[in-house]
């Protein structure tokens, strides 16, 4: 929850300075994918719903749109928990790339139903695809750091005991 809030604040303040191909990274999706990959579908869906609702309240627009799409993302990514090895560092990067694309598609689909008429092709090509590459790279980096930290913690505990 706090991580989501921090991600939201960073996206509103710091990340616009680090735009790539005209888009900024979506930290909430990166956090959510890694979380769901580690914790599974039910907790991933719950976290996705909380993150999405937080974002919806912040944006004060189409309330529920992000909650719904992020919940679906968290659930679907969480399904990978049982068939993807957690030691695979590439896993979260690829999952985040695919999750961003799926989430973007779902956002546009539900958005169109709710009245957010963003052009499909332009939305997928100029927003979703660059964002997927950006998020995927960040997830790869973030998960490698997380795994490195976890391994270091385990070694430290063993040495201590």
């Amino acid at each position: 929850m706090l991580l989501g809030l921090a991600g939201l604040i960073l996206e509103a303040t710091l990340l616009p300075a680090f735009k790539m191909a005209g888009v900024k990274a979506d930290l909430l999706t990166v956090f959510l994918t890694i979380f769901a990959f580690l914790k599974g579908a039910p907790r991933g869906a719950a976290m996705g719903f909380i993150y999405g609702l937080l974002e919806d309240f912040y944006l004060a627009k189409f309330l529920g749109l992000n909650a719904l799409t992020r919940m679906a993302t968290g659930y679907l990514v969480g399904l990978s928990k049982d068939w993807l090895n957690h030691d695979n560092l590439l896993g979260p990067g690829i999952l985040t790339f695919l999750a961003t694309i799926g989430q973007g598609f779902l956002f546009l689909l539900v958005g169109h139903l709710a009245g957010f008429k963003y052009p499909w092709l332009a939305g997928m090509l100029t927003v979703v695809l660059p964002m997927a590459f950006y998020n995927g790279s960040l997830a790869l980096l973030g998960y490698s750091l997380y795994q490195g930290g976890a391994a270091w913690g385990t070694r430290k505990r063993k040495t201590g005991s």
């Binding site: 939201l8 303040t13 990340l15 300075a17 005209g22 974002e55 944006l59 627009k61 958005g111 100029t126």
Partner: protein, 304 residues
């Protein structure tokens, strides 16, 4: 040689030696450009040894002094490091003030030029939209500072957007880059009107849509607000046409516009809190047709 003469020889030699030394002393007392072979040879022979010993002595003195003053030097070093860090921080702060001063001076110049047309409030930008789908800014002033919905936000470079929501301490500005931030625009030089909105395929650019196929719209033309729609005053700078593309239906065309404002670098903006008389009051004749006129919004070509 008798004993008497032998006794005299020693004093005589001494006297002669003393006299010789005296004369040599007198001779060497004078400034000489060239030394004798003996003097020069001795000096040259001893010079390397002198140099070496002096070096060792000096170094040793330095080391001894350093050892003796180690704690004092360490403290001094620490103090100097702190001073450098403080000076660096002050320098960065001064650079910030300098840049802020430049930005505020530009805004002030803009408000001075347009003081008969509008009332302004300077507001800081405190955040941007976290989503990639919407283009909004959050200002650090709200209804307590007199900001209201639909007030227009500009900088000395041109139009930024309009306020769409206010809280007592913040205001949300919908940028003209957003698809929902469409407004009426026109080509400044020939008054060709059109709707200006954020371009979905040219990200970061605007587009003027629904332009008749035969309309005289071409690259490098300046686009300003048309005043249609009732929110944005007429004549504010929007950007410059960089590309003209035919619409898929073949009947219309659209112009891609590079915005005059760098939306990623905004730190302070001006909110038009009251339109006194519009730009006709600020710049007489601005509403009339023709090129080369001056508008609030700062067409760079006109020097405003």
């Amino acid at each position: 040689m008798g004993p008497y003469r032998r006794k005299l020889i020693t004093p005589l030699i001494l006297i002669l030696a003393a006299l010789s030394i005296y004369f040599i002393m007198r001779w060497t007392a004078l400034e000489r450009g060239r030394l004798s072979i003996l003097e020069g040879g001795l000096r040259d022979a001893l010079a390397p040894a002198e140099r070496g010993i002096t070096l060792v002595v000096n170094k040793t003195e330095g080391w001894l002094a350093a050892i003796k003053n180690y704690s004092r030097l360490q403290a001094e070093n620490q103090a100097l490091k702190q001073e450098i860090a403080a000076l660096k921080a002050a320098n960065i702060q001064l650079e910030e003030y300098r840049q802020e001063n430049n930005r505020l001076r530009n805004l002030l110049k803009f408000t001075e030029v347009n003081r008969n047309a509008f009332d302004f409030t300077v507001a800081p930008v405190i955040g941007r939209n976290p989503s990639n789908w919407y283009h909004t800014l959050t200002l650090g002033l709200g209804s307590r500072a007199g900001l209201q919905k639909d007030q227009v936000v500009v900088t000395s470079q041109g139009v930024v957007g309009r306020i769409v929501a206010v809280t007592p301490r913040t205001a949300e500005v919908l940028l003209i880059l957003d698809r929902e931030g469409a407004l009426g625009g026109m080509i400044q030089v020939n008054r060709t009107p059109g709707i200006v909105e954020g371009s979905p395929d040219y990200r970061g650019y605007l587009q003027m849509i629904h332009i008749a196929r035969d309309a005289p719209v071409m690259e490098n033309q300046v686009v300003v607000t048309s005043g249609l729609g009732g929110i944005f005053p007429k004549g504010l700078l929007l950007g410059t046409v960089v590309k003209v593309l035919p619409e898929p239906d073949g009947l219309m065309k659209r112009a891609i516009i590079e915005p005059s404002v760098d939306f990623d670098r905004l730190e302070e903006v001006l909110v038009i809190t009251r339109v006194k008389g519009g730009i006709e009051d600020a710049v007489p004749g601005a509403g009339a047709s023709g090129a080369g006129r001056t508008y609030p919004g700062g067409n760079p070509a006109t020097g405003l």
